[in-house]
Symmetry: C2
Subunit: 120 residues, 2 copies
């Protein structure tokens, strides 16, 4: 990173200090990437709807598809993404596969998001 890039806002000196401090406290690039990837999973209304259904109960794929009015394939693709992010887990029972929430962070994150959305 070249120092020249910082030549902005005229008062270069002061900002250099600030930027140095900011960079120091910034998490590793990989962590930030993983974090954004996690939120990307929440950033789709189909997956959000799936999670809300799973708040209620452990549900099999075809019921999920029925509840959401979507094809089995579309739901299955999204379940795979949710599972890869460890937001849901699955359990096979005969021909069916039942999905449920993986841990409590899911609920907390969504609740906080809801609070933000519901403000004003």
């Amino acid at each position: 990173m070249k120092k020249n890039e910082l030549e902005c806002c005229e008062s270069t000196e002061v900002h250099e200090e600030l930027l140095a401090q900011v960079r120091e406290n910034l998490p590793q690039e990989e962590k930030l990437y993983d974090l954004s990837e996690l939120f990307k999973v929440f950033g789709d209304s189909t997956r959000i709807r799936i999670l809300f259904v799973l708040f209620e109960a452990e549900v099999c794929v075809c019921d999920l598809a029925a509840a959401l009015g979507m094809t089995q394939s579309a739901v299955s693709h999204q379940l795979r993404i949710l599972k890869q992010s460890k937001l849901v887990k699955s359990r096979r029972e005969g021909k069916s596969v039942f999905y449920s929430l993986a841990d409590s962070h899911v609920r907390t994150i969504i609740d906080q998001g809801m609070e933000h959305v519901e403000e004003e």
Copy 2:
């Protein structure tokens, strides 16, 4: 929604009840959409990095661009999105515009996400 869609998993009866209950407790479609739109904002590493910089201090656009090694334009576009979602606010001081976090939900949501990502 046609009842025929629910003919799956053979034991239709039981699931009908479950699905009726699930549908009842599901938030309005609009709420779910807004929620996913909010998380979509968190689901980009550029915006996550911007938010982490703002955790440290109130920063002007060109310093943000410098800190992240991005063009002023790209940062400005993302700031607009963050502002529309009310995650950041801005304040003009002469030629510069300073950005800062809008409320505490931002921090809570990101912290919970971090916890999830950092597990195992």
